[in-house]
């Protein structure tokens, strides 16, 4: 059994409360913009780009100011990491699902949640590759690629590499997003973020 104080300190070190507040704020902004948009293209743009923000927040919240000290603790970290991520992902999923209701139409159902899940997986993998502080660069760079590639003629919109553009009913896109999320959670739980020296609070 993990002591409640340890859980509390672990979450506090990762600014979990602020991260959850950011997630709710981003979801509220997304809901507001979706309600404001009466243009189909703009709605799609919101559903593709704005889930990057919760993913970036989750990635950035991986960072701990204690680094090696924490790794040497007698308690195993994976259960704490898993609980922390599960909590943030649950908050993000519920908030994005609620925000998605502002985009009416079969073509938009669950797109925020699906895309957010895939991007979050990328952010978690990014945390292992480049460190938590810069983990958000991976999903944001990918999101920019998704927006720009079809316009530049580099890839067709139907390409599996551009799964965030695919309609919600398309199963391969949903499976891809889920696979990315599971891979990210597994990597972040087992290995944690890469330790890099930085001074950000």
């Amino acid at each position: 059994m993990i002591p409640a104080r340890l859980v509390w300190l672990y979450l506090r070190a990762r600014l979990a409360g602020l991260a959850a507040t950011c997630l709710l704020g981003v979801a509220a902004a997304t809901w507001f913009l979706l309600g404001l948009s009466d243009d189909r293209l703009l709605t799609k743009l919101i559903l593709i780009v704005l889930p990057l923000a919760p993913a970036a927040v989750i990635g950035a919240s991986l960072r701990s100011p204690f680094g090696e000290t924490e790794v040497t603790a007698s308690r195993p970290l994976p259960p704490l990491r898993l609980g922390h991520l599960a909590g943030l992902l649950a908050v993000a999923a519920l908030a994005l699902a609620a925000a998605n209701t502002a985009a009416p139409g079969e073509d938009f159902h669950w797109l925020l949640v699906r895309n957010g899940a895939g991007y979050a997986g990328l952010a978690l993998v990014g945390g292992r590759l480049v460190g938590a502080a810069a983990s958000w660069v991976v999903p944001v760079a990918y999101g920019m690629f998704v927006v720009v590639a079809p316009v530049a003629g580099a890839l067709n919109r139907d390409s599996p590499w551009l799964w965030p553009l695919h309609p919600p009913a398309e199963r391969p896109a949903a499976i891809g997003a889920l696979a990315l999320l599971l891979a990210g959670v597994a990597v972040a739980t087992v290995f944690g973020p890469r330790a890099v020296p930085d001074e950000a609070p």
Partner: protein
């Protein structure tokens, strides 16, 4: 403008990072800026020009329209100044100097916004109306590049890479009729409103290259307009729509003489590109298409010498719409 937008975004991120130091500031500002410039740039309003991602109307003939680059750069530089000048405001000792710098930069930014508001078309760049598009606009002077062939072909120098292929395809198309009375003697990219050339000896076409659709575009923007000009009548001298206007006497292609359509489809087949149903366009899916198909096949099966003989004797009448379907061999 994109080059100036990068330091502007960096300045904004830096300033916000100073005011709200947190691990979440950088990612949230990045996503917000990325989305914000897409969102603003997609609006059909003057303020779309505050974003570097605004849609612009571009062409080799008229350049970038509306060209507000200087105004946009002015606005962005003002914004950089404003953001950086705001940083000393946090420090009590520098507050006076920071305030003065901030005020100066704010004036530049507001002036930039005001100039953009004044100069930008009200509905943004992509949505320029026909009048706005052509008002007070001079064609950028250019010297066409040409390729010699039985039917010489000229294009804008920007399209020189497409000249050889275009010349080959056009000459395959017109080979059976080149030299016949009334048939134009050269083909040029553009349209009379651009070149100022309204003589009937020139065929007009446009090229809209997009790599993956090159063959389709060649068909729709080059071959179809050319074939209609060859078979029906010369291009309309007043056309300035970017691609040559369909000179068919009526908007309903079925109203054009069936015999003309037969020869048109037969000519299109000479290019060997796509099947002629696609080449003459989806609008030609009317009953006339199936009605004339046997005649197209019959004419195509003739000996080339017989085809030439018939064309020499009847092409002028065919262009004038005086040949009936049953008159074709």
């Amino acid at each position: 403008m994109g080059l100036v937008a990068i330091p502007t975004h960096a300045a904004l991120g830096f300033a916000l990072g100073r005011y709200f130091p947190s691990r979440f500031t950088a990612p949230l500002v990045t996503v917000a800026l990325f989305f914000g410039q897409l969102f603003v740039g997609a609006q059909n309003a003057w303020y779309a020009f505050l974003s570097p991602m605004v849609s612009l109307n571009t062409s080799v003939w008229y350049g970038v329209r509306p060209d507000l680059t200087l105004q946009q750069v002015f606005f962005l530089l003002g914004l950089i100044g404003l953001l950086l000048a705001s940083l000393p405001l946090r420090d009590q000792r520098n507050r006076a100097a920071g305030g003065a710098s901030c005020l100066a930069a704010a004036l530049v930014t507001v002036a930039g916004v005001a100039i953009i508001w004044h100069d930008a078309p009200p509905r943004g760049g992509q949505d320029l109306s026909r009048d706005e598009r052509f008002r007070n606009r001079q064609v950028i002077p250019y010297q066409p590049v040409c390729r010699d062939a039985p039917m010489p072909v000229c294009v804008h120098p920007a399209y020189q890479p497409y000249l050889d292929e275009t010349t080959a395809v056009i000459n395959r198309l017109v080979a059976p009729v080149v030299g016949l009375p009334g048939v134009p003697t050269r083909a040029e990219q553009g349209y009379p409103a651009i070149t100022g050339n309204t003589d009937a000896t020139t065929l007009w076409f446009d090229i809209q290259p997009q790599a993956q659709y090159w063959e389709q575009l060649l068909t729709t923007s080059v071959l179809y307009p050319l074939t209609t000009q060859v078979v029906f009548m010369p291009a309309d001298g007043n056309s300035r729509s970017g691609s040559v206007r369909n000179p068919c006497p009526s908007s309903n292609p079925g109203s054009c003489a069936d015999a003309q359509q037969v020869i048109m489809r037969w000519l299109l087949r000479q290019t060997g590109l796509a099947d002629d149903r696609y080449q003459v366009g989806p609008r030609f899916t009317d009953p006339a298409y199936d009605r004339i198909t046997p005649t197209v096949e019959r004419f195509a099966a003739l000996d080339p010498a017989q085809q030439q003989k018939w064309l020499r004797a009847h092409f002028a009448d065919l262009r004038a719409g005086k040949v009936r379907l049953e008159d074709l061999p």
